[in-house]
C-alpha cells in the first residue's frame, strides 16, 4: 500500500545500502591512507542514511529524517576530529601510514 510510494522495492534499497556499506568497510580495512579510510567511513554513514530515508518513506514516518539529520551532524563531527588526528599524526611523524602508528602494540 504505502510501499507504492517508493520508487523501487524496499529490498532494493536495503541491498543497495548494504553494498555501499560493504564497500565502505572494505575501504577502511584495506586502505592504509587515513584520508581514504575516513572517506570510506563517510560512505558507511551514508549507506545508513539511505536506509533511514527509504524506510521513512516506506512507512511515512519522518523520524527517519530526523535521524538522518543526526547522522549527518555526527558524521561532520567525526570527520572534523578524524582529520584533526590525521594532522596531529602528520605533525609528529611526517607520515600518515596507519600501519606505522602502532605505539600501543602490546
Amino acid at each position: 500500500m504505502h510501499a507504492s510510494l517508493l520508487p523501487a522495492a524496499i529490498l532494493d534499497y536495503i541491498s543497495l545500502s548494504f553494498v555501499i556499506f560493504a564497500i565502505g568497510v572494505a575501504g577502511v580495512l584495506l586502505r592504509r591512507n587515513p584520508l581514504i579510510m575516513l572517506m570510506s567511513i563517510e560512505l558507511m554513514w551514508n549507506a545508513a542514511n539511505l536506509l533511514f530515508l527509504a524506510f521513512a518513506r516506506a512507512w511515512l514516518n519522518n523520524a527517519g529524517h530526523i535521524f538522518a539529520f543526526l547522522v549527518i551532524t555526527v558524521a561532520a563531527a567525526e570527520a572534523a576530529i578524524g582529520l584533526a588526528i590525521v594532522v596531529v599524526v602528520f605533525r609528529s611523524r611526517a607520515n600518515v601510514d596507519v600501519d606505522e602508528v602502532a605505539l600501543l602494540k602490546g
Binding site: 568497510v25 577502511v28 580495512l29 592504509r32 596507519v98 600501519d99 602508528v101 602502532a102 605505539l103 600501543l104 602494540k105 602490546g106
Partner: protein
C-alpha cells in the same frame, strides 16, 4: 538486688571528672616523658612521680563517690561511649576497684619516688618513667573498666608495659629473653580471657559487668568454662601453676619494677579478676574448687621453691608467687573479702621487701646473691628495720599486717569446706616463715661475705655474672629510704583495719560480694590462728637454728657452701617446669616450624605463588595478542562485533 546479693546496677550513673583525672594523668605523664625525655632528663623522674601523687590524691578525693551507695547501686559509674549494642564502655569505681586504685596509685607513688633514687644515674631515666607511668595507666584501665572488653584492653596493655619494663635493660640478653617469655605467657592468658568474652557475648549479648552479673546462670551450661577461661587469664597474669615460670625470670627488670609490677600490682590482677567476677564464681562450685586448688598448690609450690634460692630477688619472686597463691585460693573458695585483704597487705610488705632489697643491691654495687651478703644490718639500717617489719608481716606474725589477712584466707578455706586447703595453707605458712627468715638472717646477720672468694660460699661464677644489674651511682639516700620506711610502717599497721568482724574492712565490702551464711566449721578461727602462729614459730625457729645461732654465724661460708651442694635437685631445677614446657610446647612448635618452612612453604605456598604467576603470564600473552597496535586490525574486530549484533538481531527478529 539479684539472688546473689550483688546489685546489678553496679555504680550510680553520673559524670565524675575525678575519674578521668585518676585515669588519664598517668597517661599524660607517660606521653610527656616519652616525647620530651631527652629534654627533661632527670626532671622526668619528678614529673612521673608528681602525676602519680596527683592521681593518688584524686583517688582519696574520690573515696566518697567510690563508696556511695543508693538503691542497691554501689560506687560511681561513668559512661564513656557505645560501640555497638552490647558494647557499652565506661568507668566503674566501686569499693573493689577503689582498693586497687588506692594501691596502684599510692604504693605506685612510693615506688616512683624510690625509683628516682634507684634510677638516678641511668641514662634512660626518662624512658623508665614513661614506661612506669604507662604501666600505671594500663593498670588503672584494667581496674576501672566497667566491662570485660575494657578489662581485656587494660590486661593486654599491662602485659605490654611489663614487657617494656622487664626488658628495660635491653642490652642484657637475659632481660630480653625474660621479657619475651613474660609477654608470651601473658598472651596465653589474654587469649583465655578472650574466649571467656566470646562465650559471654554469645550467651548474654553484652560485655558489661552489670549485665553479666545480673544473672550468671544465663551462661549455663558454659558457666564453668567461662570461669575456666577467665582463670587461664588470671593464672597467666598472677603466675599460678602451671603458668608461673615467667615471674622469677621477670626479676631481670630493675628492682622498682619488680616491686611495682611483679609484686604489688600487676600480678594481683588475677585476684582482681576473680574478685570482680565473684557472682560467676559464687554460681559455679566446680570453678571454686578448681581455682582454690590451683591457688593452694601454687602457694605451697612457690614457698618450697623459695627455700632453695640464693638470689634475693628470686626468693622474693617465689614468695610473691606463693602469696598470690594464697590470694587466689581465698577468692577462689569465695572468701573474696579475705583474698582482697591479703592483696591489700601484701602490696605493702612485698613492695617493702623488694625496695629494701633494692637498697641492699645498691649498697653492694649490684650484688644480688645473699651468700655474698651478710652483716647488712650495719650497712643498711633502714632496710634492716623496714624489712624486719615486712618479714614479720609476710610470716603472719601478730600484729603485723599479714597476720590478719593470711589467717582470714586460711580460715576462709576451712569455712567453705576445703579442709585440705586449710592444712596446706597452714603448712605453707610455716615454710613461708622459714624461707623469709632465712633470707633475713643470711642477708643481715653475721659478717660481710662479699670479700670472700665466691666459690667458697658455693656461688657458681658464670651464672653469678649473668644476673647482675648494671652499675649505678648513688642518689640522695632519703629518696630511697623514705618510701621503704613508709612501706615498713604500713607493713605493721596495714592490717589493723581488719581486726574484728565488724571492722572498717568488713564494713567496706559489706555490699560488694555475694554472701552466703555458712555453718561454723568444726575448728574455730581462734584455733586456726593459734595453729598459724605455731607454724610461724616453727618455721622461724628452724631458720634461726640453721642461720642465726652463734655457731652458725661463725661458720656461715662453710654452711652456705654445703647447703648449696645439698639442695634437692627438684627444687634447684624448679620442678623441671621449664624443661617440661620445652618438651611439651617448644620442641613440637620447633618441629612444626621446621616442617612448615622446609616442606609446606616451598611446595604449597611458593608453588601457589608460582602457579599464579604462570596463569597470569599465559592470560597476559593471550590478551596481548589482540593488542597489535594496528588500527585496521582493531577496525576488523569492531566490524566483527557489529556483525555479531546484526546476526543476533536478525535471529531475534525472526523468532518474534
Amino acid at each position: 538486688m539479684s539472688a546473689y546479693g550483688v546489685s546489678h546496677h553496679m555504680g550510680i550513673d553520673g559524670n565524675y571528672p575525678v575519674l578521668f583525672v585518676i585515669w588519664l594523668l598517668p597517661l599524660a605523664g607517660a606521653i610527656l616523658n616519652w616525647a620530651f625525655g631527652p629534654q627533661l632528663q632527670r626532671m622526668s623522674a619528678w614529673l612521673g612521680s608528681a602525676v602519680l601523687a596527683v592521681s593518688f590524691i584524686a583517688t582519696l578525693a574520690a573515696w566518697g563517690i567510690g563508696t556511695q551507695s543508693s538503691d542497691g547501686a554501689l560506687g560511681a559509674h561513668q559512661a564513656l561511649f557505645s560501640w555497638f549494642p552490647g558494647f557499652n564502655f565506661g568507668l566503674l569505681l566501686d569499693p573493689l576497684a577503689l582498693i586497687w586504685v588506692l594501691i596502684i596509685t599510692g604504693v605506685g607513688f612510693l615506688i616512683h619516688l624510690y625509683s628516682i633514687g634507684y634510677m638516678w644515674s641511668d641514662s634512660a631515666i626518662a624512658r623508665f618513667f614513661a614506661y612506669m607511668n604507662f604501666f600505671v595507666f594500663a593498670m588503672l584501665t584494667l581496674v576501672l573498666s566497667d566491662n570485660f572488653v575494657g578489662l581485656l584492653v587494660g590486661w593486654g596493655l599491662v602485659g605490654l608495659a611489663s614487657y617494656f619494663l622487664i626488658g628495660f635493660w635491653f642490652f642484657k640478653p637475659t632481660a630480653v629473653a625474660a621479657a619475651r617469655k613474660a609477654f608470651v605467657i601473658n598472651v596465653v592468658g589474654d587469649v583465655g580471657i578472650m574466649f571467656a568474652i566470646f562465650i559471654i557475648f554469645a550467651r548474654i549479648g553484652s560485655i558489661s559487668f552489670a549485665d553479666v552479673f545480673a544473672n550468671p546462670h544465663a551462661l549455663d551450661p558454659w558457666l564453668f568454662w567461662t570461669c575456666v577461661f577467665l582463670f587461664i587469664g588470671a593464672a597467666a597474669k598472677s603466675a599460678q601453676l602451671p603458668l608461673h615460670t615467667w615471674l622469677p625470670d621477670a626479676m631481670e627488670g630493675p628492682t622498682p619494677v619488680s616491686a611495682l609490677i611483679h609484686a604489688a600490682t600487676m600480678v594481683t590482677a588475677g585476684v582482681y579478676l576473680v574478685a570482680r567476677c565473684a557472682p560467676l564464681w559464687s554460681a559455679s562450685h566446680d570453678a571454686q574448687t578448681l581455682v582454690g586448688t590451683v591457688g593452694c598448690l601454687t602457694a605451697l609450690a612457690g614457698a618450697l621453691l623459695g627455700t632453695a634460692q640464693w638470689d634475693i630477688k628470686r626468693i622474693l619472686a617465689y614468695s610473691t608467687m606463693s602469696q598470690i597463691g594464697y590470694m587466689i585460693m581465698g577468692v577462689g573458695v569465695t572468701a573474696y573479702s579475705a583474698g582482697v585483704a591479703h592483696f591489700f597487705t601484701h602490696a605493702f610488705f612485698k613492695a617493702c621487701l623488694f625496695l629494701g632489697s633494692g637498697i641492699i643491691i645498691h649498697e653492694l654495687s649490684d650484688e644480688q646473691d645473699i651468700r655474698l651478703m651478710g652483716g647488712m644490718r650495719q650497712r643498711a639500717p633502714v632496710a634492716f628495720w623496714a624489712m624486719l617489719s615486712a618479714v614479720l608481716a609476710i610470716s603472719g606474725c601478730p600484729p603485723f599486717a599479714g597476720y590478719f589477712s593470711k589467717d582470714r584466707v586460711i580460715y576462709g578455706a576451712l569455712e567453705h569446706g576445703y579442709v585440705w586447703m586449710w592444712v596446706v595453707g597452714l603448712i605453707t605458712a610455716g615454710i613461708t616463715a622459714y624461707y623469709m627468715f632465712r633470707l633475713f638472717f643470711v642477708t643481715f646477720l653475721g659478717t660481710y661475705r662479699g670479700d670472700l672468694d665466691p666459690a667458697s660460699v658455693g656461688v657458681d661464677r658464670e651464672e653469678h655474672a649473668a644476673h647482675q644489674e648494671p652499675h649505678h651511682a648513688h642518689a640522695p639516700a632519703w629518696l630511697m629510704a623514705v618510701p621503704v620506711g613508709v612501706l615498713g610502717v604500713f607493713s605493721l599497721i596495714g592490717g589493723w583495719i581488719m581486726v574484728t568482724p565488724s571492722s572498717p574492712w568488713a564494713h567496706f565490702f559489706a555490699q560488694s560480694f555475694p554472701r552466703e551464711t555458712l555453718p561454723p566449721p568444726a575448728i574455730s578461727e581462734a584455733v586456726t590462728t593459734a595453729l598459724a602462729i605455731v607454724m610461724l614459730l616453727a618455721g622461724a625457729a628452724v631458720a634461726y637454728a640453721r642461720y642465726a645461732t652463734a655457731p652458725a654465724l661463725a661458720d656461715a661460708p662453710e654452711r652456705l657452701r654445703r647447703e648449696t651442694q645439698t639442695l634437692p635437685a627438684i627444687l634447684v631445677h624448679l620442678y623441671y617446669f621449664n624443661e617440661l614446657i620445652d618438651v611439651l610446647f617448644v620442641r613440637p612448635a620447633r618441629a612444626a616450624g621446621a616442617f612448615f618452612s622446609q616442606w609446606v612453604d616451598p611446595h604449597f605456598v611458593d608453588g601457589a605463588v608460582r602457579e599464579v604467576v604462570i596463569t597470569n603470564r599465559f592470560l597476559g600473552t593471550l590478551v596481548r595478542s589482540f593488542q597489535t597496535g594496528l588500527l585496521r586490525a582493531y577496525a576488523l574486530i569492531v566490524v566483527f562485533g557489529a556483525a555479531c549484533f546484526a546476526v543476533y538481531y536478525a535471529l531475534a527478529g525472526g523468532a518474534r
